[in-house]
């Protein structure tokens, strides 16, 4: 058996840009939908995944890091047979994605994100999990054991007999995770597994993924995330994705080691906006700027400034924040991380 679990060859996926909201198109009468569709035939296309070449080794925990809309989910949906690529192909667990999709399906587990996806409101959490355990061919005994284990891992043991609509958004994400933990296939695709979880739960889930699924069971895991820390903490190797393309790939350490700047000016501030970032970018000694908004309401977050002259750049950055009505909360010189790799490659932050 090859030591490569996933290998893609120029994988490309394009979509039509639909100007009519999906809800209008989907829920309308078929005659209206057809008319609208015919009008949309000439709609322009955009490339969600652009000639991606990727290799994931067996037993590797591989991260796809990129901002929202980078094409991460589309890529793993292609790899998991939910989307048919427009160009290229992939070999998954030794099977050709286009020629042997049924065999690919039997080799993979897919954990999507979205708290309400696929669960029945009339069934309890446990019954919903039983439903999927049966579809995946688990025997009643194994299903019972795995459901108990999965509920325990995600911390829903006490809520197992409640209906999903009685759970909070974070708990529904946990329910989705529990579904994903029921089966043990050689390859596991995880799409933003910790999105919507509180920090404690997210840490527990990361630990389970790393220690149980990866270290103990040796599963090959391809995980998408836009959380830089998650990719850095968990992954053996990371591919950074932007606008459908892989812009860098390697171990987090190698990617960070390859950066031009070894010291990053980090400014925590309130009222960060695009105008402010543009102004900072125009400062002489500044090479790249990225930001991460942590509080949407206050527009507060962190600006990371890549500069070859921190002493000269710092006062100018602070002045720019002041001029734009912002407020500086904290300034530090920090070590570079994966987000800085993204900033250096794309000229913007993961959260922009």
């Amino acid at each position: 058996m090859s030591d490569v679990a996933i290998k893609t060859f120029g994988l490309t996926k394009r979509f039509r840009k639909e100007k009519i909201p999906a809800g209008v198109l989907g829920r309308s009468h078929w005659l209206l939908s057809l008319t609208l569709k015919l009008k949309l035939r000439k709609a322009e296309e955009f490339t969600a995944v652009d000639h991606v070449n990727l290799e994931v080794k067996r037993g590797e925990l591989f991260g796809l890091l990129g901002p929202n809309g980078a094409g991460k989910t589309t890529l793993i949906k292609c790899l998991s047979t939910l989307l048919i690529p427009d160009e290229g192909t992939a070999i998954i667990n030794g099977y050709d994605l286009l020629e042997e999709p049924e065999k690919v399906k039997r080799s993979i587990n897919f954990l999507g994100s979205g708290q309400w996806v696929g669960f029945d409101w009339a069934l309890t959490v446990r019954e919903n999990l039983e439903f999927f355990a049966n579809l995946y061919g688990l025997s009643p005994k194994t299903a019972k054991e795995r459901i108990a284990e999965a509920l325990n891992i995600v911390g829903l043991k006490d809520r197992a007999d409640e209906k999903p609509h009685r759970l909070s958004a974070g708990m529904r994400q946990k329910m989705l995770l529990a579904k994903g933990f029921l089966i043990r296939t050689p390859i596991f695709f995880m799409d933003e597994p910790t999105i919507g979880l509180d920090p404690v739960s997210a840490r527990e889930i990361r630990r389970y993924i790393k220690e149980k699924l990866h270290d103990e069971m040796g599963e090959t895991i391809l995980l998408t995330t836009h959380y830089m820390q998650e990719a850095q903490q968990l992954c053996d190797r990371v591919a950074i994705m932007d606008r459908g393309k892989i812009v860098a790939c390697g171990t987090p350490e190698d990617l960070i080691r390859g950066l031009k700047r070894k010291e990053i000016l980090e400014v925590e501030a309130v009222n960060i906006g695009p105008e402010l970032l543009d102004e900072v970018r125009r400062i002489d000694s500044v090479e790249n700027v990225g930001s991460r908004i942590e509080d949407e309401v206050m527009a507060s977050g962190v600006i990371r400034v890549h500069t070859y002259d921190v002493e000269s750049a710092l006062p100018k950055v602070l002045q720019a924040i002041d001029r734009r009505g912002g407020k500086v909360l904290h300034v530090s010189i920090s070590e570079p991380n994966l987000e800085d790799v993204f900033i250096e490659l794309t000229g913007r932050g993961l959260g922009e």
């Binding site: 999906a22 078929w30 989307l83 996806v117 669960f119 999927f132 049966n134 061919g137 688990l138």
Partner: protein, 295 residues
């Protein structure tokens, strides 16, 4: 230890059963619906019985091949049409329900095959339909006086309804494929819409076809329902072997044989075409990212 997923025969049966169990659970979730459904059935039958009593004289002649009793004619028409309607709608409603609940992607990822998915989502609908049929028959026989003939051949009638259900399943698969071919995700599709128009008008559910102009009778000849209803009524209500459908006057067989041959032809044609269309539609959905509401 990791392993590839597989479904043996036992696991496949369990997968089908879990669909049924889930459907029944959802069905019984709103208890009040049960009572309203039953009252509704009683009311519908009462209405048709009144119409039957008023109109019986004017259609008496046309009822001769079916034993002559209009109430029995209507009760059988309603129940058989319900069964065929379920066959027609099962694939569409199963696919649509999975689509809107976001479950379709998860089902497509599981090792269950498409036939198991269709079967699983259909059986629950059939159970519900058969329970409704039982209630209709109880009301029809014990309250409104519907009766079968002393020479009724139930097994042969069952054969006709099974073949017709297979033909309708094929048409239902074609209807379900319209979800992606013409974006018919709004609860209605062109194929079922056209079929339902013809069923209501020219299949002979509520009145004998012979009272209609000949071109409308030919319209009814285009769908399997007409042949199944004609055959089942002849078999269960007694009557004469008179030709009632336009095709009976063309083919040199007795009406029952003609009906069976036409139904078999429908089934042999619609099932493979419907199957192919449905699979192509799913492929198209994967191509254009339409398996779920979100790409």
């Amino acid at each position: 230890m990791t392993e590839e997923l597989s479904l043996d025969r036992k696991a496949t049966l369990r997968a089908i059963w879990i669909f049924v169990k889930r459907d029944l659970k959802i069905w019984t979730y709103f208890k009040a619906n049960f009572i309203i459904d039953i009252v509704d059935m009683f009311w519908e039958l009462a209405l048709y019985t009144i119409i039957a009593l008023v109109a019986e004289e004017s259609v008496r002649c046309s009822l001769t091949p079916y034993g002559g009793d209009y109430v029995s004619y209507i009760v059988l028409g309603i129940v058989f049409n319900m069964i065929l309607g379920t066959s027609l709608s099962a694939a569409y409603s199963g696919t649509m329900s999975a689509f809107w609940s976001g479950r379709l992607e998860l089902l497509m990822l599981s090792p269950i095959s498409t036939p198991v998915f269709i079967l699983g989502t259909s059986i629950g609908n059939y159970i519900r339909t058969f329970l409704n049929v039982a209630v209709y028959l109880i009301f029809g026989v014990f309250i409104f006086g519907a009766k079968t003939s002393a020479t009724a051949n139930y097994w042969l009638a069952l054969l006709y309804i099974v073949v017709a259900a297979a033909a309708c399943t094929g048409l239902g698969l074609m209807a379900a494929s319209m979800i992606y071919f013409v974006d018919a995700r709004g609860g209605q599709d062109p194929i079922r819409w056209i079929l339902n128009v013809i069923v209501g008008l020219a299949a002979g559910v509520y009145y004998p076809l012979s009272i209609l102009p000949e071109w409308v009778q030919w319209l009814g000849s285009l769908i399997p329902h007409t042949y199944a209803l004609d055959a089942c009524r002849r078999l269960l209500l007694g009557g004469t072997a008179t030709a009632t459908l336009p095709i009976h006057k063309i083919l040199p067989f007795n009406p029952l044989t003609t009906n069976l041959l036409v139904l078999l032809l429908f089934a042999v044609m619609t099932l493979p075409i419907g199957w192919r269309m449905y699979n192509r539609a799913l492929k198209m959905a994967k191509k254009y990212g339409r398996l779920s509401r979100w790409v």
